[in-house]
């Protein structure tokens, strides 16, 4: 039986978050969902993918058109009752080569909200594993998903799509890594208790920073924050005395006054023998004097600088995305060739059967009529003769078909369809 790949789903572009959430599968219910999906007669294989940006059903179906309505129905059932509105406006459907392309693009993170983000591949693997455990993966989806994983790897290796941080705190860490080669011997000073500063300090800690000082105008808040992120609290009046110990200084105090000016930094640098310092001014208002950046061995980035680096990286990613689309195109073509070759094998078998059937019928007819006096030896010779004739007749077309499938698959579908029509192979 011929199988078709079908994808029905909705993503961050086609549907608002409320709609996506109403359809989303909680992890523990995926198995349940797969069982329900498999119950439809048209769905032969199925994988459910459900992340905060997309809910999709990937299936191998016996009848594409019927499968669409079945999967739509399935998603409608899944939808929480509180959203009475129909999903029809938000759903997209892909079939055949388009479905293959869509899945490859999803895996390669070309369809993601933040193009190039690396999480999607892991999520894809996770949902594929779940489907495999539930027994809803067969030969086609097995091959399709494994192909999509290697497409994602190829895109990651051959393009710079995943490089270049695009969030503020990862840009800051990225910059810090271009200045310092390790963080475990560095000291971070966090001035102010803004949310962004907290986040950035944690990010630096996850990259190895161990020593952390926290200061705030209200000492109690500094103590509380220090406790939360395993730092040591410092009184606000004292922070400039401790400044010489800090390699990374994060300003996030909120208030609009300049807390550290260039003269102070110049003095601090002398005290620490010109060891490099990195200032990050990430509050809404500036806490550090912009002239600090003019000093040698000191780098100052404020929130706007970080945003513009992130923006540049985003632009670069979209350039790389074009390269990635080329890779996807190649891979889709080769996958479609494989699908076609699947179709070709049963057609060849059917063709042989058809010829053999005719041969046998005609021999039986003749042996029962005009040739009934033949000896056993002559009968065997007749059998050999007709078999050889059929083999010779079929040899040309079959080897041509096989050759076609292995070289360029474009014509294979056409030939297969022609053979089916000409010899009436789908009669059963």
């Amino acid at each position: 039986m011929q199988k078709e790949i079908v994808i029905v789903g909705l993503n961050h572009r086609s549907a608002p978050i409320e709609v996506r959430e109403s359809v989303a599968f909680e992890h523990s219910y995926v198995r349940d969902g797969l069982a329900r999906l498999r119950a439809y007669p048209t769905i032969l294989e199925g994988v459910i993918l459900s992340t905060c940006n997309r809910v999709e059903v990937v299936a191998a179906a016996s009848d594409g058109r019927l499968a669409f309505s079945h999967i739509s129905e399935f998603l409608d059932d899944q939808k929480a009752q509180r959203h009475a509105a129909s999903l029809d406006d938000h759903i997209y459907v892909y079939q055949g080569a388009d479905a293959v392309r869509h899945l490859f693009r999803v895996a390669a993170s070309l369809d993601s909200m933040v193009v190039g983000e690396p999480q999607i591949l892991g999520q894809l693997k996770q949902y594929y594993d779940a489907a495999q455990q539930a027994g809803t993966v067969g030969a086609i989806l097995h091959r399709l998903f494994h192909r999509s994983f290697s497409v994602a790897k190829r895109v990651r290796n051959e393009t710079a799509i995943g490089s270049g941080a695009v969030s503020i705190s990862s840009v800051a860490v990225d910059l810090a890594k271009r200045i310092f080669d390790r963080f475990d011997d560095k000291t971070v000073m966090l001035i102010g208790a803004g949310k962004m500063g907290d986040l950035m300090a944690r990010h630096l800690q996850s990259h190895g920073a161990r020593s952390l000082m926290v200061t705030n105008r209200t000492f109690e808040r500094a103590v509380a924050l220090a406790e939360r992120i395993q730092g040591s609290p410092i009184r606000f009046e004292d922070f400039s005395r401790y400044l010489k110990l800090a390699d990374l200084v994060i300003g996030c105090a909120g208030a609009a006054d300049v807390l550290i000016d260039a003269t102070t930094v110049e003095r601090v640098l002398r005290e620490r023998k010109q060891k490099t310092m990195f200032f990050l001014d990430i509050g809404d208002r500036r806490n550090f004097d912009a002239k600090i950046n003019d000093l040698d061995n000191v780098y100052l980035y404020n929130i706007d600088d970080l945003k513009s680096v992130a923006e540049d990286n985003r632009l670069e990613r979209s350039n790389e995305a074009e390269k990635a689309e080329g890779i996807v195109r190649e891979e889709v073509a080769s996958f479609v060739r494989w699908m076609d070759s699947l179709e070709q094998v049963p057609t060849i078998t059917a063709l042989r059967h058809r010829f053999e059937e005719i041969r046998r019928r005609e021999i039986e007819k003749s042996l029962g009529g005009g040739l009934k006096d033949l000896s056993a030896q002559q009968r065997a010779a007749l059998d050999d003769l007709t078999t050889a004739m059929i083999n010779k007749l079929l040899h040309g077309p079959i080897s041509q078909l096989k050759k076609n499938a292995s070289e360029d698959g474009d014509d294979t579908t056409l030939y297969v369809a022609a053979l089916k029509r000409l010899f009436d192979l789908e009669r059963k």
Partner: protein, 272 residues
């Protein structure tokens, strides 16, 4: 035969340079290919050098082309050693074209200066020349590291990130490597000057003859000594240290290339 090997060396260094640039600016694969090419160039370079030494003896280094060939060989060798530990492929992007220019110049310049008189051909010759050239090679690498530091520093200050920057090592590692090269290069240079002076003392009877090469080496030596002192005691580092390192090498290189032509001396072939 000799010339063919030499041209082959230059060609492979050129290929390595192209491959490094491809890696740096297009950058699809790891820097294995350019490093492998450089290593291959180094092996053939070694053969070319060995064949010269075999034919002409060590005294051939008095000739400009020969000296460049030997110096370039030391430079590539030290780079390859550094590469093992630091994976500083970007430095290869500077060393490979430099190695190409030096080997290319080696057969472009050809013979040049006169031969060293047999009386001078003692053990002092290889010892003095090798030490002095090792110092040069280490400072050439320090020059490359400093250049990379300045490029990276400028980008960070001007807040302009480029794809190329992602291949740059952190400033901290560059500065540390730069310091390490100074720490190695300075004693080598000192020994180069000392052995030369001792050799002169033994042969000519006076240790210091105000030979132009001696003077220029002394200037460069004082310069590097000040730099080292500043680094150790005054926290001289980063951009200033990189600039000074580059300047110091320019003094060494400038004299190496043109000094003997401008001021004929013992190093330039006047052995009296």
């Amino acid at each position: 035969m000799d010339a063919i090997i030499l041209k082959l060396t230059a060609l492979i260094y050129l290929l390595a340079a192209g491959s490094f640039f491809h890696y740096l600016f297009r950058g699809e694969t790891a820097a294995r290919l350019p490093t492998a090419l450089l290593l291959l160039g180094f092996v053939i370079h070694s053969i070319a050098l060995a064949s010269r030494f075999f034919q002409e003896g060590f005294a051939g280094v008095a000739m400009m082309g020969h000296a460049l060939l030997f110096n370039g060989w030391l430079m590539v060798g030290i780079y390859l050693l550094i590469q093992i530990k630091y994976h500083l492929s970007i430095l290869g992007g500077i060393i490979a074209p430099l190695a190409f220019l030096m080997t290319f110049a080696a057969f472009a310049v050809g013979k040049g200066a006169a031969e060293i008189p047999p009386a001078l051909q003692t053990y002092w010759l290889p010892v003095h020349v090798t030490l002095a050239f090792l110092g040069n090679a280490v400072f050439a690498l320090a020059f490359g590291v400093s250049l990379i530091y300045l490029l990276q520093e400028r980008r960070l200050k001007h807040k302009k990130m480029t794809a190329l920057m992602k291949r740059f090592p952190p400033l901290e590692s560059l500065d540390r490597l730069n310091y390490m090269l100074l720490v190695w290069g300075f004693p080598l240079m000192t020994l180069g000057i000392l052995t030369g002076s001792l050799w002169a003392g033994i042969h000519w009877g006076n240790y210091w003859s105000w030979d132009p090469r001696q003077i220029s080496s002394a200037i460069a030596w004082l310069f590097y000594a000040a730099l080292l002192h500043g680094r150790i005691t005054a926290g001289l580092r980063g951009k200033k240290a990189a600039l000074l390192t580059m300047f110091g090498f320019c003094v060494v290189l400038g004299y190496f290339l043109w000094g003997d032509a401008l001021f004929p001396s013992r190093h330039g072939g006047r052995f009296e």
